[in-house]
């Protein structure tokens, strides 16, 4: 495939992620932080996010499985998840986390379990999207092109 075409695909794909609300402005900011001295910054952060989140999700699943649920612990985990998701701009995960925390506050186990499922779903979706994104980027890099930067307008 031609590099330009892939670049175009990447831009379109990124746009679609914004359109669908998977990503927000924070991701753009994140991209801006990436430069020659730190060429894989975004990828590093995102993979860190997925590793961390996977651990958190496992812990959450265990925590909510306990006969007596420690909501404080659950809340702390969700807070973590929310913080990191907002840092990379994974908007949908973040929103799911916000809903999750509301249920934590009122100590609603049913709600929490539903939310956990929701968060997991969003997490896997986001993971998918990011992987696609990075694959495209890698393709561009492999073909010797540069990753088009998306300028922030605000």
């Amino acid at each position: 495939m031609e590099v330009v075409q892939i670049q175009r695909n990447l831009v379109d794909y990124t746009k679609s992620l914004f359109m669908e609300g998977f990503l927000d402005g924070q991701f753009l900011q994140l991209q801006q932080l990436q430069d020659e001295s730190n060429p894989d910054f975004v990828a590093e952060v995102v993979s860190l996010f997925f590793d961390d989140s996977q651990k958190l999700l496992n812990e959450l699943t265990i925590a909510l499985d306990q006969p007596i649920v420690d909501f404080k612990k659950v809340d702390a985990h969700v807070h973590q998840l929310k913080g990191s998701s907002s840092s990379i701009g994974a908007q949908k995960v973040k929103n799911a986390c916000i809903a999750f925390r509301n249920f934590c506050e009122v100590q609603n186990i049913e709600g929490c379990l539903t939310c956990l499922q929701q968060v997991k779903l969003e997490y896997y979706l986001a993971k998918n999207k990011f992987e696609t994104l990075f694959r495209l980027e890698q393709q561009i890099v492999a073909s010797g092109g540069s990753i088009p930067m998306i300028e922030m307008g605000f």
Binding site: F18, M19, D35, S37, G83, S84, S87, F154
Partner: protein, 1013 residues
């Protein structure tokens, strides 16, 4: 508070009335007692004791009322207690006063009855005594007559008295016996002497009833002498009449005058009594027994008393016959008294009985007196008691009404307070809602704007590009609006806090000016800023908010001004106060653009700061600025003026259509000005212009020893200005205000300025020679007005002998309208476009004069670039438990050139930040497990304090601590929720500020700039 006032007022009124009432009541009763004592000494004792009792009672009442007062104040807080208490008091009050008035009524009426009784008694007694006296007089006379008879009839032989003598004597002495109708003398004749007696007298003894010769009796008592009136009784035997016989026998036995029971007199048929005295032969000792008396009896003298006429006469003598009824009774027989005088009309009213003593112990008489009229109604008592009752009830009613009123007011107040609470809650909810919604809108808007941005990078045709631009502009406007709404909400919920940082006012105004310069040039409106020299260079306050206010006001002005000028002036408040009286004559012509303006002095007329009594300086180092924004625009219509500062209120709906905007800006400005301890006001003349003025209090920045980044920024312009230092400039401008503005800006560069108003003056100054003029700045107006003379001027300048001729600049409003470049193409002429700003001016001058053409680094500077300057090479610790966040933050800071160390736990941070260390700053997440950011910061501060103390006391060597004697690493909180984390909270824990997470370049810059230079 107001409730308490109302309550107190009610109480006072009630108390006053109570006192008044009691006073009246006591006055009445006192008077009454005094009168009673005065009139009636007898009743005095009673009155006295009653008076004492009353005083006691009065004392008690006073005490009671005092207690009421006392308790009232104690209970004032508890409404229910008060209410029931008042009810009881009212009830007692009414009952008490009803009883009191009834008692008063009884007391007064009984008093009146008593008095009446006494009057009657005294009258009756008086009459009885008189009657008795007169009777006694008559009786004495009859007794005297009996002695006369005994002396002259029996004591002499022959007798000295015959019937004729007796009759004459008695007739002539009848005045002595006004009560007797007649007197007669009967002699005692024993049967043995009868014949002789009858012969002697020449008539036979006759019986009284039949008038026939008397049958044989043991003895007889024939009348021998009689007064003419009763001469018919002569020869009648007195012993033959039942009454007379008894009388006669009793008289001779007792030796005293005796009375018959009343009977009808023979002739007059009136009631009468007969008084009989016995005549004895010799003087008897007073203790003689009846038998001796009977034997010594010679005869009997009788007098007829006409009781009826007697009493009649007596009563006629006395005046008050009409008011009293008098009855006289013979009560010898107790069971059936015989009426002697008076009618028998019964009257159940008062009666007084007086005993009469007519000298006959056997007979008892009495006089009964009654009032003819029934007793009158005791009107005084009735009116007094009713009056008191009415007063008491009225007072009670007032009490009642007051209490009710108070209760009602209290209820209303409660309701009001509840409503206020509700309203406040609603307001808070609204603000919260606004804040939330605005926040939520901002996020997707960022997406929209980002997308638009990206869209613009794609291949678009002209129309599409135009559409996208429009969409982006609208989006930006929307974000700006949302920010404003967020501000408003923040202000309303009191969450807006002002910063305290050092800033350069002049630089800020330059920034604002450049922001509006494009617009003003498009419109051909002249824009200018003038800051008084007395305003300090550095101020401490919130530059962002100050800028916001200025931007708001200028934005409005620009919006509504199509011609003329907009002038921003900044003075110290004292300066203006000093000139407030002097400058009143400032003519409307003497303005920046020559258009008339609204007098700005009018706009601060109502300011607190300028009312003389208030001290202008609450603190010694506070700077009270007064800023005016003057325009020559449309002005504000009269009816819209009151709502100028009301949020979302615009002059009219059409304004929103023509000029856009939400109408929230002025409201926010007002709030911000309020937060800066200032005031805002305006004056406006339709079609002439408006002038908005506000004051704001800042601290003077020069006193602070800390070095701030902002100073450094300015030092760049300082270096620029130093290049021009000592130069001389000539400003050619006939309009003083405009010239003043120009001079202000040129002087900022360190250039000495002289102002002249025309060509001639200008030339003469240049020609003076000794002081070289390096530049001449000519107003475009002057330049265009007379192109010939300006050309001449230029020529003359070039001919000036000494040194290089001065550079000539034309100050013009907008480049388009200037004709300068067309006419003087050959000439060495530079055009400086207004608005004048120090930096821009410096750049223009540099270009034209050819000195140090280094360019101005500040002009193109972006926050990220400055951030880079700030953070380059800094060693910064980031503490966050979230790896992703940590990485992102570290990436961001690294991008700005910082040397970043990451830590994931609070304890780690404490270890790393225990001096000595090389960190320049620390960014700390607040919410962390095990140890949160606040706690970690506190501990770090503790450690630092400890070490500082030891160093201070020389216990630790400074060398071991990198020669730093006072350790204090700047710690900034990182938080996702900016609204929640307040400045205060951070400061409490020893933090130096906070930044939002993820980082925003501008905020990061603002916070970091406070510590690094």
């Amino acid at each position: 508070m107001s409730l308490l006032h109302v309550f107190g007022f009610g109480l006072k009124v009630g108390h006053l009335l109570w006192m008044l009432c009691c006073w009246i009541a006591s006055m009445i009763s006192m008077n009454w007692f005094i009168n009673g004592e005065f009139k009636n000494p007898k009743a005095g004792v009673l009155g006295d004791s009653a008076g004492k009792m009353w005083f006691k009672c009065w004392d008690e009442i006073l005490n009671f009322s005092f207690k009421i007062h006392h308790q009232y104040y104690q209970y004032i807080g508890s409404k229910k207690v008060c209410k029931s208490w008042w009810r009881k008091l009212l009830f007692l009050w009414v009952i008490g006063w009803t009883l009191a008035s009834v008692w008063i009524f009884y007391y007064m009426s009984s008093h009146a009855t008593e008095k009446r009784k006494e009057t009657l008694a005294s009258m009756c007694e008086e009459r009885a005594r008189m009657l008795q006296d007169q009777f006694n007089v008559s009786m004495n006379h009859i007794q005297a007559m009996s002695i006369l008879i005994s002396t002259f009839h029996h004591g002499k032989t022959p007798s000295a008295i015959d019937q004729g003598t007796f009759a004459r004597y008695t007739e002539r002495t009848a005045f002595e016996r006004p009560l007797t109708t007649g007197v007669a003398y009967a002699v005692r004749v024993l049967h043995s002497e009868r014949e002789q007696f009858e012969r002697q007298q020449g008539w036979t003894i006759k019986r009284m009833d039949t008038l026939e010769p008397s049958p044989i009796q043991e003895e007889y008592a024939p009348v021998i002498f009689a007064q003419d009136i009763v001469s018919h009784v002569v020869s009648l035997d007195m012993l033959s009449g039942k009454e007379d016989r008894e009388n006669v026998l009793r008289a001779r036995r007792s030796g005293k005058g005796v009375l018959t029971a009343p009977f009808r007199l023979l002739k007059t048929n009136r009631l009468g009594v007969i008084l009989t005295f016995a005549v004895y032969k010799r003087d008897l000792p007073s203790n003689a027994n009846p038998k001796e008396r009977i034997e010594a009896t010679d005869g009997y003298l009788g007098g007829v008393f006409d009781i009826e006429s007697l009493v009649e006469k007596l009563l006629q003598q006395l005046s008050s016959k009409q008011t009293t009824l008098v009855n006289v009774f013979d009560t010898s027989n107790q069971s059936c008294p015989i009426s002697m005088y008076g009618s028998n009309e019964s009257n159940d009213g008062l009666e007084h009985v007086s005993h009469l003593n007519f000298g006959d112990p056997f007979r008892k008489h009495e006089m009964r007196c009654r009032f003819k009229q029934k007793p009158p109604w005791p009107w005084v008592a009735i009116t007094t008691s009713i009056g008191i009752l009415v007063i008491a009830l009225l007072v009670g009613h007032i009490f009642h009404a007051t209490v009710n009123r108070i209760a009602k007011v209290e209820d209303d107040c409660h309701k009001m307070m509840e409503l206020t609470k509700q309203a406040e809650a609603a307001d808070v909810a609204k603000s919260q809602f606004l804040a939330t919604v605005s926040h939520e809108i901002r996020t997707p808007m960022n997406g929209v704007l980002g997308m638009l941005d990206m869209l613009m990078d794609t291949d678009l045709d002209v129309t599409q590009l135009d559409y996208v631009r429009t969409a982006q502009a609208s989006g930006k406007a929307l974000v700006a609006l949302i920010n404003e709404v967020l501000d408003q909400a923040k202000i309303e919920s009191g969450k807006l806090e002002l910063e305290e940082v050092q800033f350069d006012l002049r630089a800020i105004l330059d920034d604002v000016l450049s922001l509006f310069s494009g617009k003003s040039q498009d419109k051909g409106v002249e824009l200018a800023v003038y800051i008084s020299d007395r305003v300090p260079k550095m101020l401490i306050g919130d530059p962002g908010r100050f800028r916001q206010i200025i931007t708001n006001l200028m934005g409005n002005s620009i919006k509504f001004t199509e011609r003329g000028h907009i002038l921003v002036t900044v003075h110290l408040a004292e300066e203006v106060i000093d000139s407030i009286e002097v400058e009143t004559e400032s003519s409307s012509k003497n303005t920046l653009s020559g258009f008339p303006v609204a007098d700005r002095h009018q706009s601060w007329k109502g300011f607190r700061t300028f009312s003389k009594e208030e001290p202008v300086h609450p603190f010694s180092d506070s700077i009270n600025l007064i800023v005016s924004v003057e325009d020559t625009g449309l002005g504000i219509p009269l009816d819209a003026r009151p709502r100028v500062f009301t949020p979302f209120m615009q002059v009219g709906p059409s304004i929103a259509r023509t000029h856009g905007g939400t109408g929230i800006g002025l409201s926010i400005s007002k709030c911000l000005v309020g937060l800066m301890n200032g005031e805002i006001g305006f004056v406006s003349i339709p079609m002439v212009g408006s002038t908005f003025t506000f004051t704001a209090v800042f601290a003077s920045g020069n006193s602070s020893s800390k070095e701030y980044k902002s100073q450094q920024i300015n030092s760049q312009s300082n270096t620029v200005s130093s290049e021009f230092h000592g130069m001389r400039a000539l400003v050619l401008d006939p309009r003083p205000v405009r010239a003043k503005v120009s001079r202000y800006h040129i002087q900022r560069l360190g250039i000495h300025v002289e102002i002249v108003s025309d060509w001639k003056q200008g030339l003469s100054i240049i020609n003076r020679g000794n002081n070289a003029v390096h530049m001449v700045l000519i107003e475009q107006e002057v330049w265009d007005r007379d192109l010939n003379s300006s050309g001449l001027f230029i020529n003359k300048l070039e001919k000036i002998g000494h040194g290089t001729p001065p550079k000539v600049f034309v100050l013009c409003n907008s480049i388009k309208s200037s004709k300068g470049n067309t006419t003087t193409g050959a000439c060495d002429l530079t055009i400086i476009s207004k608005p004048l700003r120090a930096s821009m001016l410096a750049a223009s001058l540099q270009r034209a004069m050819g000195i140090g053409n280094k360019g101005n680094p500040r002009n193109g500077e972006l926050p990220s670039l400055s951030l880079r300057n700030l953070l380059l090479g800094r060693k910064i610790l980031i503490v966050d438990d979230n790896n992703v966040n940590l990485k992102v933050a570290a990436g961001a800071l690294k991008k700005y050139g910082a040397d970043v160390v990451s830590a994931t736990r609070g304890i780690e941070a404490i270890e790393l930040l225990t001096p000595p260390h090389k960190f320049d700053a620390c960014f700390m997440d607040i919410q962390m497990p095990e140890m949160d950011g606040f706690e970690a910061t506190k501990r770090i501060r503790d450690v630092e304090r400890n070490i500082n103390k030891h160093i201070q006391f020389g216990e630790l060597s400074v060398d071991a601590y990198n020669n730093v004697s006072n350790w204090h690493v700047p710690i900034l909180a990182m938080t996702a929720d900016v609204i929640q984390a307040t400045h205060e909270q951070c400061q409490r824990c020893g933090m130096d500020g906070y930044v939002s997470k993820p980082f925003e370049a501008e905020q990061l810059y603002r916070e970091v700039s406070r510590f690094f230079q």
